[in-house]
Amino acid sequence: MIRLENVTKVYDSNAGPRTILNGVSLTVSPGERLGILGRNGAGKSTLVRVISGAEPLTSGHIERTMSVSWPLAFAGGFHGRLTGADNLRFICRIYGADYRDKIDFVKEFTELGSYLNEPVQIYSSGMRARLAFAISMTIDFDCYLIDEVMAVGDESFREKCQYELFEKRKDKAMVMVSHSRRYLEKTCSRFLLFRNGNTEEYETFDQAYHEYKAMLQDSPAST
């Protein structure tokens, strides 16, 4: 279980302190799949990083009794000047896993070929997504945090993710941020809308999506 209690995150900015998370309380239980909708720049990625534990809180409390992945996102998690294989080595080391057992799976899953020995900074976003996803699969997490990356893959990548995440790891929890309506609707069991630094939960995806659309029309994105 992951439990956020009254979590607040304030950043310093040129315009003074900016509140990104404003007293978020949230519980993720084993096996649950949360989908989070929200406007660009509203703080969804911050929320995901806070859940992962990589981001210090301004106030509030987080309790984690299951292992949580790092946020699988376009930016972060990899060192740009290291090769894909070196990044795998680094991540295996810090999570206490043996790199040699994992390299074959990563090679096969990512289909990166010789790119695995090139610096990650030259990868396309699709290649990064495949690498991030494959590496996170090699370490046994109870909860996966997925920040947009799945949406960019091609058909074959999505099928493989589908198999790895939804068939082999059916019992794992997931927190997913995406703009892809179809993807969230298909894969998630709980739906949250991120608004004004807080989350609102809806019974069905349609309700959440309706509110999301209404919010976008009410006040066009200013952030």
Binding site: S52, A54, P56, M66, V68, A75, G76, H79, R81, L82
Partner: protein, 272 residues
């Protein structure tokens, strides 16, 4: 292993020991990653770690030997240059590597167990290993060629060296932490450290100075440490001047300041 990744369970001592284990894992992974990006896999690879400081010391020794620079004593010049320059590399390289350390590892902070302090520790450990091994290897090499004699009191040399490394660490953490708050630190430190360089004992011993000037420059902790190193090295051949208690207090204060500055990083800044 899955339970290995869970945080917030267990209490007290067990939790502390576990956290220590994770930190050791992270720091060693960061050191290996630093070696790969800094020295690459090609050419002589991470051997460069030793060769780089070695070339510096060799060049300076050659220069000083050739010009017979006045350093205020009749101490053997090779050993004098080696102790002075190696010590200078030790205290200057740590701050140089600590400033901007967060920026180049920012993307790795996405992993919960990687803390900002770990980034600094890994760079400090790497610098310490590099400068220490170049000091030792060069000393042994020169000794083999009979250019210098081994130290009279090895333990005192080690003691002075460790004291200086501690100072470098405190300075690295402090300047690293400050540079995240104030960008200008990164610009001002290099010229400032050039100003300190001639005063820090690389090219003179304190005994050669008039007493009033000596008391003034001994406010610099690195000069005190170099004096200890040289006292261990040359023993009876020189009179050393230093204040051990002053250096200890200075180092302690610097370390506390550095740790608290590092802790402040990331609390309010956007790490994205």
């Amino acid at each position: 292993m899955p339970s290995d990744i869970v945080t917030g369970t267990g209490g007290g001592m067990r939790h502390f020991l576990y956290a220590l284990k994770v930190q050791r894992r992270v720091v060693s992974a960061l050191i290996l990653r630093e070696i790969v990006t800094r020295y690459g896999r090609s050419n002589i690879g991470f051997l460069w770690l030793f060769v780089e400081p070695m070339l510096f010391t060799l060049a300076v020794t050659a220069l000083w030997t050739a010009t017979r620079t006045v350093h205020g004593s009749d101490l053997p010049i090779v050993a004098f240059a080696l102790t002075g320059y190696a010590a200078m590399l030790l205290w200057r390289s740590m701050p140089a590597r600590c400033m901007g350390a967060v920026e180049s590892n920012r993307s790795l902070l996405f992993h919960r167990q990687v803390r900002i302090l770990d980034v600094y520790i890994s760079r400090i450990v790497l610098e310490f290993a590099a400068t220490s091994s170049s000091f030792v290897l060069l000393g042994i090499t020169f000794w083999a060629f009979e250019w210098l004699l081994p130290p009279e009191d090895v333990l005192e040399v080690i003691g002075g060296w460790l004291l200086l490394a501690w100072f470098g660490m405190g300075l690295g953490l402090t300047l690293g932490g400050l540079s995240e708050k104030v960008d200008l630190i990164q610009k001002f430190w290099p010229p400032f450290s050039y100003l300190l360089f001639p005063l820090s004992g690389a090219a003179f011993i304190a005994d050669a100075l008039p007493p009033s000037a000596r008391e003034l420059v001994l406010w610099l902790p690195m000069l005190n440490c170099v004096e200890i190193i040289r006292e261990g090295y040359f023993g009876t051949k020189m009179t050393a001047h230093y204040y051990l208690d002053y250096v200890l207090i200075f180092n302690l204060a610097l370390t506390i300041a550095g740790l608290s500055l590092v802790r402040q990083i990331g609390m309010t800044s956007n790490t994205q």
